[in-house]
């Protein structure tokens, strides 16, 4: 039976792996006819800021760079809905102009509705 899968991520990108893990988790749900969405809250909202650059220096020394989350998000935007909590952006001073195009701002009230409507809510 297909399910509505509501994935909430609270952990910030780069220091933690949760946002990076949540994206393929959501992207693969359609293979089982599940319908997924991701909502970024708390420190995870930093993942939607544009202009992300990764790398620790000399590529020869570091083998390869960590892929910027911005690219991962953009590549998967057509597969599922990607939300970010508006108040948590405000708290961190992230303005609308800094957000990746296609990301939907959401409220805590709308997130509550999504939790109630979903069959499964996974919090990372």
């Amino acid at each position: 039976m297909s399910k509505k899968v509501n994935i909430i991520v609270t952990q910030p990108p780069y220091g933690k792996e949760e946002v990076f893990g949540a994206i393929p988790l959501a992207a693969t749900q359609s293979a089982a006819d599940n319908e997924a969405s991701i909502t970024l809250v708390s420190g995870a909202v930093h993942a939607v800021v544009t202009g992300q650059q990764t790398g620790y220096g000399d590529v020869a020394r570091w083998d390869k760079n960590i892929p910027p989350l911005e690219n991962e998000i953009k590549n998967n935007l057509d597969l599922f809905d990607f939300y970010v909590l508006d108040r948590d952006l405000q708290k961190r001073g992230i303005t609308d102009g800094e957000i990746i195009e296609g990301i939907k701002k959401t409220t805590i009230s709308e997130l509550t509705d999504r939790i109630l409507e979903s069959d499964v809510t996974l919090v990372l």
Partner: protein
């Protein structure tokens, strides 16, 4: 009570149900793996089939040869719950291949852990009565 099977009434309500337990954290950073394993035993005692999906650092939970000096071995506890699940109700475990490959633990997973991927999790979510993420 440890090892207690559910009452007949409880078993009737829960028998044949299926729960998927997703985890993402490593074995010794916090107490979550212990809770996960206790929860799995309790579910099995109620006749519920348990599916473990070990993702990210939690692929280390099912890794063999863990020998902590001062803690119980999470690997051994995990292996025991899987062994107890050979008959009904079953306990199956899948470890995410991308995660095990990056941590070098694909070939050292304990017996009963199947190397799989997120597509397997999507199917388990679709099939299961409940799916939760714990730790």
């Amino acid at each position: 009570m440890i090892g207690r099977r559910g009452s007949k009434e409880e078993m009737k309500m829960t028998e044949g149900k299926q729960i998927t337990l997703v985890s993402v954290r490593g074995p010794y950073g916090d107490e979550a793996p212990f809770t996960l394993i206790r929860l799995a035993h309790a579910a099995k005692e109620k006749g519920i089939t348990v599916n473990f999906f070990n993702y990210l650092d939690s692929t280390l939970i099912g890794n063999g040869n863990q020998a902590p000096k001062e803690y119980p071995s999470v690997g051994k506890l995990f292996s025991d719950v899987l062994k107890k699940g050979l008959k009904n109700p079953k306990a199956d475990a899948i470890a995410c291949i991308k995660c095990t490959e990056s941590r070098g633990v694909t070939k050292t997973q304990t017996e009963g852990v199947v190397i799989g991927g997120l597509y397997d999790l999507a199917e388990w979510i679709a099939e299961s009565d409940k799916t939760i993420l714990l730790g």
